[in-house]
């Protein structure tokens, strides 16, 4: 049985290993909202918001709609962070970032400035949509050499 990869895990593990991202957030890349940080700590949150497999059968290629939250610090830090993450993800086309799965394509989508108003002082945050197409690590499609 071939399982579709966990796209959140792929993106999370990839971003945490990008030196330019590390320079801004260290290892603060998460898939659930972190509770232990101060409001000055910038971080990245990776969420899957939707997406369907390209074909229902065979179930070997998935297209995930992802939301990337880049929290500042300050607004400028949040913007640098989201721009860095978008650039890093845009370099993923057709490469295999880790054993979790193979990224076949990345479409970087809309960018919005949506401060998180649920903090006492609305916290600067940029949100980017990203569409990521993946297949299981090691899966070979018909016609591939």
């Amino acid at each position: 049985m071939i399982l579709l990869p966990d796209v959140v895990r792929i993106v999370y593990r990839y971003l945490v290993g990008v030196p330019e991202v590390q320079a801004i957030v260290g290892d603060r890349v998460y898939s659930v909202f972190p509770r232990q940080l101060t409001e000055a700590d910038p971080f990245v949150l990776v969420q899957r918001i939707g997406g369907t497999p390209v074909l229902p059968r065979p179930l070997v290629i998935d297209t995930a709609l992802m939301q990337l939250d880049a929290y500042g610090g300050k607004q400028a830090v949040a913007h640098t962070l989201v721009a860095t993450c978008r650039a890093a993800l845009a370099e993923l086309n057709g490469e295999q970032p880790n054993d979790d799965g193979n990224v076949c394509g990345v479409v970087v989508g809309a960018l919005r400035y949506v401060p998180d108003e649920t903090f006492p002082h609305p916290r600067p945050r940029y949100i980017s949509d990203v569409e990521i197409t993946v297949k299981p690590a090691g899966a070979i499609l018909a016609g591939a050499a």
Binding site: I49, Q67, G109, A110, R112, T118, F119, I127
Partner: protein
């Protein structure tokens, strides 16, 4: 039988004119679908979703009606991004296009 193709000018306007009768039903369907995509805990947030239609010259705006819509749509520190508006549009087989803002 041979087929002959002839150029037709004003194709964009023609398509827009043909599609125009479907605009209002589509907008109404989106407005009806949005609240159904809002997650329910106590129902308080869902009740704030009261979509309305705002007809323009060549388009129809669907206003969500909730002051909290962006919390549900994009998430906060207390909840993930549920995207009820986006999911409502996609659930109807319509294409969702987001613009940077």
């Amino acid at each position: 039988m041979p087929v002959r193709f002839a150029a037709t000018f004003g194709a964009t306007e023609t398509v827009e004119r043909l599609a125009r009768p479907g605009l209002r039903p589509a907008a109404r369907a989106v407005a009806q679908a949005i609240p159904t995509r809002v997650p329910v805990h106590t129902g308080g947030v869902k009740r704030t979703y009261k979509p309305t239609l705002d007809e323009q010259d060549d388009s129809i705006h669907v206003h969500v009606g909730s002051p909290f819509w962006h919390w549900l749509e994009y998430g906060t520190q207390f909840n993930p991004a549920y995207r009820p508006v986006e999911n409502a549009v996609r659930s109807l087989g319509l294409r969702y296009e987001a613009r940077s803002a």
